[in-house]
Symmetry: C2
Subunit: 236 residues, 2 copies
């Protein structure tokens, strides 16, 4: 790392003039490098990113339901797109990390890249406030927000799970109703989604069988993607 | 509802002068009352609340880890405290809802009260920006943030689940490891938490058995509290 790290990188890469340099040093330090790391800023930056993307989508889609806004946002702020934006920015090259992580290629690991980007947003928020970080996030994510699928093509969780499994040549999931509770006009269904090929089971509750299935499918997908992002899982 | 709804209420109760009145009319309209309801604003307000409380905690606790910040925040922004703040404000009395909801006491239902409060935060954010909503949230939640337990008393999810079940006279949960995956230095554990007394099972993944158990316990707790907040469950 150069002596002017990370101010020079911020200036060159983001045209950003850092006020409080220590914030950015922390944002670009992985916990493997010791104290002063980015985990607290990541906590804050995650909330910043969620709000900014919520607002961008809210304004862009004045007629879209809460559920669809939430689905659209998940497409933008989940680990996968974050890691891509982070890698495109070259965050992996300026991230400070311990030698163990360095050797094992931590600077290419998706979760580390995504977390560092969130920490950077946290630092900008503290350094120059919401408007500044809003502008930065909008710049970095505008193309992705533009390219979001039209709403009628937004696929529900069951469809996405099915397509994901098919793309990996795995058998389709099965759904079973475990329990129905409550009065007839206010029932709660509990459904288990079983993904045999991955030895995975996920449960979901909902006010109808269909809704409970969607929740279970969403959780199964999350578990599969978490496995993919974790050190133990496969990294693409 | 008076003719000056909801501007008069905002003025009297929150000393807030509404700019764009239609935002507040939407925020205080439950979906049972038809179109122009508060669900989109609730989506936005949820993100606003999460950020503001994240920032308040981040600044108040400069040495606290991300995990503990996250646990502290959950104590402040979960449905239960939100519903209490909402009820104390009297939001239930000014909420517009359909006659069915009215008759069944929807204005006392926790999830409806909590959602309306989040929608109100969304409206203030759009109306006057982050600083204004920050001030409002700080005013409404300062006492709760002050009263948060000291960190060494912050109980982990397993402890909280156990205490919750004991307080209801139910048998203790059991944890079983379903699966261990990955290389020895980077394993992922999957644990199931079974709450026999409630016919509930929840799964969690983690890089150690202990972590996976905590995640599973957290999900079990969430499921139990969701049941409590849903129309089919018991309301306290």
């Amino acid at each position: 790392m150069s002596e002017d790290w990370p101010a020079a990188w911020l200036r060159d890469r983001l045209a950003y003039e850092a006020g409080e340099a220590s914030l950015f040093a922390a944002a670009l330090t992985h916990r493997s490098a010791g104290s002063g790391h980015n985990e607290r800023l990541e906590f804050l930056g995650d909330a910043v990113l969620n709000l900014v993307v919520a607002e961008l989508l809210y304004r862009r889609h004045p007629k879209v339901s809460e559920g669809d806004l939430s689905r659209l946002r998940a497409r933008v702020v989940s680990a996968e797109p974050l890691a891509e934006v982070s890698a495109a920015l070259g965050l992996g090259d300026v991230l400070r990390m311990g030698s163990g992580e360095l050797k094992s290629g931590g600077f290419r690991r998706k979760s580390i890249l995504a977390d560092a980007l969130e920490a950077l947003f946290g630092a900008v928020f503290l350094d120059r406030g919401l408007d500044a970080v809003h502008a930065l996030i909008e710049k970095l994510f505008a193309a992705r927000i533009e390219a979001l699928p039209p709403l009628d093509e937004l696929k529900d969780a069951k469809t996405r799970l099915q397509e994901h499994l098919q793309s990996r040549g795995l058998p389709l999931p099965r759904y079973s109703v475990d329990r129905i509770e409550g009065e007839p006009h206010a029932q709660t269904f509990r459904v288990t989604c079983t993904v045999k090929g991955l030895g995975l089971r996920a449960q979901g509750d909902g006010s109808s069988r269909r809704r409970a299935e969607q929740v279970a499918a969403e959780r199964a997908l999350e578990a599969i993607l978490e496995q993919g992002a974790s050190p133990g899982g496969q990294e693409t």
